[in-house]
Subunit: 459 residues, 2 copies
């Protein structure tokens, strides 16, 4: 087993079975083609005006290390589905290393539907095998970073700490949610592994169990203050918020902060702030948690809550109001026998534009982003910013690993550059959509492919 | 690095920081106590009448192997928060092995709010450190198994295959969602790693990209049939369902099944079934996928859809209508200095019953489950079934690993034993709640603890 590996390694088995049945098909029929697939979303989830790219580092790490162990190949070989598949395919798996080229938006990039956030060009079987893992990785972290951006926007400069590991979809999910939330603008996480592995600031207070395990609330506070004289954040809602705060003030021991986790957070925070100020403890902060999300935070601040920082759990770590993102992986070009075929799919509601694409962002008045143009890779739009960069060539990273601080800054700067109507959390989507258009050449190419497909369908 | 490990190992850092600040507090203040924590949910998520326990195997695996590596301890030691923490705590971490006892409901058990699905008794610092990982693991798989049970119920005996890895919250999440969905009654998954690791049947067809990569749809079908003469499931909606099915029939090559992935699944399936039957291909199955969930499946079957099996993705792998489960971890008992203290928490809406508990299920007429009684561990209710079993003693498994087939049968049998009003997917929750009561002794103990806490609050 591979030491760099996850619980399930960088195994090529981390895929949907149909990727392997198709790969076997391509290998067995000597279908030698180089395919380009693009990842994008067709539509924004409800209550989202934009998305924030995240997960690229984990996606590239998978591509660089994915392989099939002998026992894994034996497992496939023994499966009835593959009983007629010859040695050629299993030899291919034994030697499998992803050898493709990848272009992608750097993590933290703000982007929109239709825009490829990643593009893979590789032998078609290779490109197919890695599809599932690329999607799972990028769908998840992009979804969380996009949610975090909303929560951070709602907090209007107050800090937001990601607290959701216990409600994340498993333990790895919790660690990566913390990472994505940081890219989306959070100040830190409660997840210690995310701190250790990614250098994200970690935050922690105390639980109700600490209070309940001690003889009295006062004893629980005193012990914690003795151990953490400069860092104690005391949880004041186990029994009664007013009583707890009065006990702390009466003790004359200044904590770093107090935490409210239930009840009327607006009213309690106003009362607590006043009492702390009266005690001369203006620097003792009020921290709030308990089923918070961007709506609750906006409401609390609108109601005059005196809260310095927010701990956000479930809503952030699961993107609970939009818990899945529809990033898809579509074939856009095929090079076979020296010819290049542009692929497109036409069905009632679904059009996929063919060709290798680039996204060009136009800056308008006041430095705001004004429009995006989705165009063919080789087109030029002087004065715009090209969002996709080359990140892997021949299966090897050609950029250093993501600098999380830089990704976070990129996100925050991208959010600042959004037109106000798009950044607004309450904006009605239909009216406020950010302008994205396809280039004239891309529309023309789509028309050509459409006519070719229609001709073929008549035959 | 540990070979048995996940991407993030069985590291003790897979926890919220406050677990470690509290653990340090207990160790530093020589707070020698043995604590009992119970995991339960206070309320059912929307649209759920019951839950299905899952994730125990991964939870116990974590408990059995969790430890802190030297570099992880060095990371904590260097953190400003721990600057005043002495050697005693870091030595404790260096020697850390979970040494507690655990009782739990076997995977696949149908259960209800208030009922502990797992109970931990351990030195309080140990019990605190493992909280986060236990919650993340059990919350997630229980949520997915519970969703799967609904989807499988809606399918009324037609097979349901889990297809959601690409929309799962990361790649580990996809593998474990497949496992939990199988416990909840699915027949299999598209996730190959879940097949390899857990012995779950795997299923796969072909993607639109296979069709688009070939010169023509007919050529794409023919090649696939050549390679998989007995197993080919052909995707017929890339361009036009009727055209695709007519091509297959005209070729005279019988696939195992055809798959519909878009469009009017009810109408198309009825048409496809008729054409396949006319061709004498009664054994060729019709498989459907594409944004399915229990509501869509029930609607399709109500509208006469002729579908033999359903592939369900996003809704299953993310439990998208209820993407978080509120399993919590509450202190219920503390043994310290020879005395046993029962812990309870009182706040406006939240009562936690004290004491080590057991759940007794009463069987009524026709073998149906009639009522559950939550009682103290030592109580006896002859003729009932005790749902919690001892699973770990002194940090070691005392039961073999979960037999997934048995867990799946336990779930399906538990669902069959549910009163119809509870099993019904459309049942209004308020009217249909399954009866769960607390024993008289437990109510009495709660009263005692409540009076003690009130006295203490007045002091």
């Amino acid at each position: 087993m591979d030491n760099r590996s996850g619980r399930f390694g960088h195994s090529g088995l981390l895929t949907d079975l149909y990727e392997l049945t198709m790969a076997a098909g391509y290998v067995e029929t000597h279908f030698d083609a180089r395919a380009t697939f693009e990842l994008f979303v067709r539509n924004l989830p409800l209550r989202r005006n934009y998305l924030v790219a995240a997960g690229l580092e984990q996606a590239l790490d998978f591509l660089e290390h994915v392989c099939f162990a002998a026992d894994e190949i034996a497992y496939l070989r023994a499966h009835p589905l593959f009983q007629r598949i010859g040695r050629r395919f299993f030899d291919y798996l034994a030697g499998f290393r992803f050898s493709g080229d990848v272009w992608a938006m750097p993590e933290g990039t703000v982007f929109f539907p239709g825009e490829p956030l990643l593009r893979v060009t590789a032998p078609i079987a290779d490109a197919q095998i890695v599809e599932t893992c690329l999607l799972a990785t990028l769908n998840f972290q992009t979804m969380i970073a996009s949610k975090a951006a909303r929560v951070v926007t709602a907090a209007r400069g107050h800090s937001v700490i990601e607290f959701g590991t216990r409600r994340a979809h498993g333990i790895e999910s919790g660690v990566l949610a913390a990472r994505a939330a940081y890219i989306g603008g959070c100040q830190g996480t409660s997840n210690v592994m995310a701190g250790r592995r990614f250098g994200i600031p970690i935050f922690g207070t105390q639980a109700h169990s600490w209070i309940m395990a001690h003889e009295s609330e006062e004893e629980a506070f005193r012990q914690f203050l003795d151990i953490y004289p400069h860092h104690a954040v005391l949880l004041v809602d186990t029994y009664d918020v007013h009583g707890a705060v009065e006990k702390i003030i009466a003790m004359g021991r200044r904590p770093r902060a107090v935490r409210l986790d239930s009840g009327d957070l607006a009213a309690d925070s106003i009362w607590v702030r006043r009492r702390l100020d009266e005690a001369g403890w203006r620097d003792v902060e009020v921290f709030a948690s308990g089923d918070l999300d961007e709506d609750r935070i906006a409401e609390l601040l609108a109601n005059g809550a005196r809260i310095d920082g927010f701990g956000v759990g479930t809503a952030l770590a699961t993107s609970s109001d939009a818990p899945a993102l529809g990033v898809i992986y579509k074939l856009v070009e095929l090079e076979r026998g020296g010819a290049v075929h542009n692929a497109a799919k036409f069905s009632e509601a679904k059009v996929t534009y063919p060709g290798r694409k680039q996204v060009f962002r136009v800056t308008g008045a006041g430095g705001k982003s004004a429009e995006d143009i989705i165009a063919l890779e080789e087109e030029q739009f002087p004065g715009t910013e090209a969002l996709l960069l080359p990140v892997m060539r021949g299966g090897k990273h050609i950029l250093p690993a993501t600098d999380l601080e830089e990704a976070r800054r990129r996100c925050l700067s991208g959010l600042q550059r959004l037109p106000e109507s798009v950044a607004d959390l309450r904006a009605p989507l239909v009216l406020a959509g950010y302008p994205v258009r396809y280039s004239a050449r891309l529309e023309e190419l789509l028309g050509q492919v459409r006519r070719r497909v229609e001709r073929a369908a008549r035959i």
